[in-house]
Symmetry: C2
Subunit: 282 residues, 2 copies
Amino acid sequence: VLDAFIGKLRDLGLNRAEELQPFLEIVKPRGKVSRGQDILRSDDTPKHLIVLLAGVSCLYECLEDGRRQIIAFQYAGDLCDLHRFTLSESGRRLAVGALTECSIGVIAHKDLERLVVEYRSLALTLWRAMMFEASVFREKLAMVRRPALERVAHLLCEQLARYEAVGITSATIPLTQVVLADAVGLSIVHINRTVQELRRLGILSTKGRAIEVVNKAQLATLASFDGCYLNMPQVLSHWHISMGPRSDAGCAIACDEISLAICQTLQREERHLNFDTGTRPL
Amino acid sequence: VLDAFIGKLRDLGLNRAEELQPFLEIVKPRGKVSRGQDILRSDDTPKHLIVLLAGVSCLYECLEDGRRQIIAFQYAGDLCDLHRFTLSESGRRLAVGALTECSIGVIAHKDLERLVVEYRSLALTLWRAMMFEASVFREKLAMVRRPALERVAHLLCEQLARYEAVGITSATIPLTQVVLADAVGLSIVHINRTVQELRRLGILSTKGRAIEVVNKAQLATLASFDGCYLNMPQVLSHWHISMGPRSDAGCAIACDEISLAICQTLQREERHLNFDTGTRPL
DNA sequence: CGTGCTGTTGAGGACGATCAATGACGGTGG
DNA sequence: CCACCGTCATTGATCGTCCTCAACAGCACG
């Protein structure tokens, strides 16, 4: 259940069992949210941090004309509303929506504050999580000038890369064209034509209405997808992208003592929750 | 000299003199960078964190076609390349350029790492700084759908608000139209026509080539500028925008003992540096 | 078997890009 | 002091991308 979350935290440098465990213990399961529903409304008061345990969700902003602009995608293990912690007014108009069926957990702000004070490296870990998010934002901002075809291609590359990061190797992207439109900021009609263009180029499957990548290499080339900004060494190797050694910055001592303590936590939680993966396409 | 930096840190919740002082002490002056020069190239190895002591700079990404996409603006007191700290590959293609004459200081990563471990609230402060940055990114992302006029108007609003935050009340924005184009992602020609439209609307001054806002209220209305994302209570009151009380999240104890220690630090540094403000337009 | 969402297609038009040329200004060097 | 140069601002004309407004087909769901 918490596998993806643990994996995420380890990637962020939270390696030590004695820090990981208390953090996992304050995660409370909160059930499921079905596709299309909001996981988080823009108006409710921030008392908890939301952890996405399974599924795909998106952070979006409501626009005046009723449409929405998707700011970022979130995958199993991601923290949905880290931006609302300790910074009062940021994200006032933001909401989080479920793009597939999602399993969520919550962490009370109070609990988190306590742990942040107690364990130094936790603040560093969450800081990194924030930096990662910002990294994705920057990349999206740099895409603004590019034409529709490259924008869409780039988005699909990011999807694939991040699926891989959470262990999903399927080449089928569980997003509708409407969602793509909201994400890249183009009209649905134009997205449709762009998707058809990608199919015509032999990059997407022509069978069925689902978006299935059949030529990943060509997709990456078209998008000139760099992917370094994702900071995921284990995944990026698949993309034939070189990465330097990670600078673990004096905090993340690489000790592999995840050990029994975590396994026990896992098993203990598992009996409580009984979540399925909830990542079924559409 | 360090006033803006201190102000920034205080806004971020680093209030206590005993934490502020050691942080200020590891800042080393590094001289000036003249307008148009790069403060930071995308290719140099991150060994230091750069602090903008005076002036305006921008974080930008080099595009393939030679142009640049400005991701964010930086003002006196901002940390220029926080994104390169502890996260290895993020911002590989990013650079920081001086938009006015800039005075910069540096903080060795080593020194910072040491302090982050020693003082708990420092990590929290820098984390907040990152969240603030991300907040600005999100806002820019949400602007993508809007037409040119609103995009430009919104950018100008942000400029004014952030100038105020560092104590500059001038309504003249020290940016060229070329910079505006790089920032909002439109062609220079179209920026020019948009600026003329803003002048025609009585929002910008028609005298001279400088961009001078004469009707701030109308500008804010046109841009539907919310500004909450900036998290700057003291400034936003001018913009007639309500803000709730800041949640100081268990760390930032509001003690006003900035006191002698800081003043002494200031004076000590001042004798070393002798920087001027360097915020002359163009 | 409707109802609703998604995907698909066409026509027309708006917004913004590109190309090209000019004027204004500041700085530099003769 | 003036000629020269580079940057910035400005303008016109043309063109392309993408939007909007339709209308309709397929599929899922009740």
